[in-house]
Amino acid sequence: MIYRSLFPRDIFAELDRLQREMAQAFDLSPSIRGFGRGGYPALNVGGTQQSVEIYAFAPGLDPAKIDVNIDRGVLTIEGERDSGLPPTDEKTAVHINERFAGRFRRVVSLPDDVDPNACDATYRDGVLHLSIKRRESALPRRIEVK
């Protein structure tokens, strides 16, 4: 443990450890694929009686390059985001680099009653909004008693 003795009070390592412990304590453990909360894009999912609504917070993308697929009830949102950082040279310095860059893929399993052919996708202010209609046969209806 040369490292320990060289830097006996490494504040950053301590903070890292603290953060991990907090995450455990609040049960925010990430999945094995590394994407817990805070993955890119962040997803909000909700539904109405007529549709399932999915909001993907995916800023800075070219809408033509977002790949949305529905296959056997599984929705996949895929794409790639450029870092936008300039090539590093002597005159530029990157002070903070927190924004996501690279390929991303998020998967949502949809309820059984949605109609994959009736999916409407819009991209506005960096939010991808998918609205997937539920099947007619699955909509609640009133049955008349004769």
């Binding site: 909000n44 999912v45 809408p63 991209y123």
Partner: protein, 122 residues
């Protein structure tokens, strides 16, 4: 007085910390911030003294009767505060929004620009 109270209350409201990139070159600083769902009108940029505040309200087109089942973004607001250093010129900040990404260009003041000093040999 009332105004003061509402101001502090506003500051206390929960907000998401947006991820940023900050790049410095010879003539200034470029800042990118991810603010998905914030339109140009809902963005609030302020410089008070040497404090730069980026704030934005998130608005989504939600259909009536929507019930959330899973939410990773649960607060409809972004806020991040930076302290500017002296050589930056807060009057010349340029901002643009593109697909939910804010780009800020903060140039360095005239006197802080790099210049080549000629050395005379005599």
């Amino acid at each position: 007085m009332t105004n003061h109270v509402t101001k502090t209350e506003a500051a206390r409201r929960d907000a998401v910390l947006p991820p940023v990139d900050v790049i410095e070159d010879a003539t200034g600083i470029t800042l990118y911030a991810d603010l998905p769902g914030v339109s140009k009108e809902a963005l609030n940029l302020r410089v008070e003294g040497d404090t730069l505040t980026i704030e934005g309200e998130l608005s989504l087109a939600t259909p009536e009767g929507l019930q959330a089942s899973h939410a990773e973004v649960s607060v409809p607001r972004y806020r991040r505060v930076f302290t500017l250093s002296k050589e930056l010129d807060p009057d010349k900040i340029a901002a643009e929004m593109n697909h939910g990404v804010l780009k800020l260009r903060i140039p360095k003041a005239e006197h802080a620009q790099p210049r080549k000093v000629q050395i005379r040999v005599g």
